[in-house]
Amino acid sequence: MISRKLDDEEGFDDKYALLQNENLKLQDKLKNYNNIQQELISANYLRDKQLESYKKLNFYIKSFIQSKTIQNFKSAVSEAVVDIFSAESSMVVFVTKNDVTIYTEGLEKKEHNPDNIFRAIENITLNVSERAPFYLTEKHINNHPALEKFERILVRKFESKEENFQFFIIGMVSKKMAFSFDKLNYEGLLMFDNFSEQIYSILKHRLYKENLIEETEKYRNVIAKLNLGLLELDNTDKILYADENFCKLLGYTNDELKGKYGRQTLFDDESRQAMSKHVEGLFNEDISFVHETEMLTKQGEKRNMLISAVPNYSVKGEIIGAIGVHLDITNQKNLEKKLFLEKEKYRSIIANMNLGLLEVDNYENILLANNSFCEISGYTEDELIGKNAFNTLLNDKGRISMKKQISIRLKKESSVYEAEIITKQGEKRTWLISGAPNFGVKGELVGSIGIHLDITNQKNLESKLLNSNNNLKKINKELDTFVYRISHDLRTPVLSIMGLIDLIQHGDDVDMSDRNKEYINLMLDSTKRLDKTIQEILYFSRNSKLELQIQSVDIQKLINHIYDDIKYVNKRDIIFETNFNNIHFIDSDKARLEIVLKNILSNSVKYFNPNTDKCFVKFDISQEKTYYTISITDNGIGIEKEFLDRIFEMFFRATNNAYGTGLGLFLVKETIEKLKGRIKVDSQINVGTKFIITIPKKYN
């Protein structure tokens, strides 16, 4: 995943795949090309040897022919046998009307009795190797089906008119050969068996010209098929032949090139210099070469070429020219250059990003690890490459969870996960890993690439934080319970006092004095205030600790409910006006909103102005883009200007009213702050008070 994001070089993967593909093609071509070169070289080598053999044989054959007598001929043959044939485990049979001489393995055997001749030959040939006999007639010599088994057949007839003798030299090239005679029509028969190169050479020599043409055609075809450009030069660097491919590569026609000087025409000064060294080495010292260079097209454009050249020999073995095979590698070169630049860019990004990068194959074998990866794993690059990441960097526990990730990768999906890694030093570290599948040229999965970040320190901090957070939560909860317990235990006796007072007030005992009744009333007021204080302290403790619980609040219902609760606080009739401006539901913390509104509204009711005819309390809510504005206005007794700043202080009381705890408005302010709102108050003695609250419309 990250690998994909990382290359701002767009389509990097595609290009990379393309290049890989091109490279494969190029490698294929090169392979063929090398094969051809190899073939050419070995053909040349063969030609060399043939030449040598030919010279020797030529010498002997000349001496055979020049033999005036049969005696001379025989001795020439036996000399030849000793010189060239015996060493090759070949066999020479020399047949006259009177006897047969068999030369084999350097030994000479004579048989004078014709009856024994065949047997002798048979025995010998059978002994030499597994040979099936066949019969040879004059006709057969040139055209015998059995002879088709042989790669090359050479027949030469020697005639000596003076002594009236005839010889046929039959050379056969094969591993298997046997012969016999049904008729001796000839004065003599000289046969060579399994002579391999020597005989082959004779043959080659005879066939040399047609053979060479054939061979030349053959390699030209092969080269043409491979899209390789072929150029043949003479030893003065003049172009003899340029095949179609070669012409296409550089934009010439064959005619345009023929007769031109190769180096002069096809290279610029710089490339020519290097080229000349190679070409001269080839012409003068017989050194084949492979060389990468730039060549010029007809239009003067530069192309990158891979050239493989071998010398071309004459029949006599002299270097008469050169054959060069040309492969256009311009595209690959350009692509390579581009890729190199992009790879450099990519690499420098990877190296500088302080994130460990690891590339593995499908078997988790490491193909690439960047510096950062080495740093965080503790290994050097050499120690990592080729190792199995799964076995090297994980413990048993890590392997189990990594298997899951590997299976995700096999589905060709990316994932981000945390893993426990064992460094070279055996230290356990926590890494954040982003793994992505890696695709090959054909879109097949070839492995995966992971970006690794060591988050051990963060992890430790996190877990410390988590611990202390959990601790805090626990303490908070304990505190919460504690506060409830305390408030409960404090309230219980208060409530029982209130219950008892209620019993006294509503009891059957009517004989109580008015003064006692008054005392009882005061007692009830104080007790109620005590209970209220306890409740408010409890609320305060909870408000500061509990998170906001935002829900949809029916503000109209809430206001009416609050007013129902508080309207009996005193006996005076108070006009309650509401203006909701069509606002019905607001998103807020219901419990907290209720505390705020109840406190302010009950203050407005409590502190009515006894000197006013029509006491009123007005509730108004309106909305702006991001907040609600709530105002609560009364025409009550008002607040002294000097106290206005202090009414939100804890335990501050402007009047010594029996109901006041000094906590109400303090809690209002605290709660408003928790609600991320604001509160403002405006008041005038004997005119009234106005509270303005703003609260946000939305909580995130």
């Binding site: 409830y484 409960h488 309230r491 219980t492 409530l495 219950g499 008892l500 409890l538």
Partner: protein, 139 residues
């Protein structure tokens, strides 16, 4: 309809048991009140009652020593689950903890949740609810 209403008051604070009894007295109906300050004793009492003689209304405090109100109910469920359906329990507590209120909602037998103290008005409502319920049953 029953002629005599049986109340069972369970509160470790005897003042509340006293106050609630007084309010019940003032109802001027035929009644029978049993009070326990020890939740354990209250449990044994309930455990030994036959189904016919179960109380009609139980006022149950939450915060008590030995067993709190819910623990007492758990014990009853453990020992005598069959009587749970026949119990009309009203939590009467001075706790302001909302979790107590939430907890009490989990029990079908808990029919109401009151903050202390119960006054005559609340008591009347409770008794009327019970009488109506019995009336519906008899129809």
């Amino acid at each position: 309809m029953k002629t005599k209403l049986k109340f069972l008051l369970i509160d470790d604070d005897h003042v509340f048991n006293f106050l609630h009894s007084k309010h019940i007295e003032k109802l001027e109906i035929d009644h029978d009140v049993t009070c326990f300050e020890s939740p354990t004793k209250a449990f044994w009492y309930l455990n030994n009652l036959s189904v016919d003689s179960l109380p009609d209304i139980i006022f149950l405090d939450i915060n008590m020593p030995e067993l709190n109100g819910f623990e007492l109910l758990q014990k009853v469920i453990q020992e005598r689950e069959e009587i749970m359906n026949n119990l009309n329990i009203f939590i009467v507590t001075s706790s302001l903890n909302p979790t107590d209120y939430e907890e009490s909602k989990k029990y079908d037998s808990i029919k109401g949740y009151y903050n202390k103290p119960i006054d005559s008005e609340k008591l009347m409502t409770t008794v009327n609810w019970l009488l109506n319920k019995d009336l519906e049953k008899s129809i």
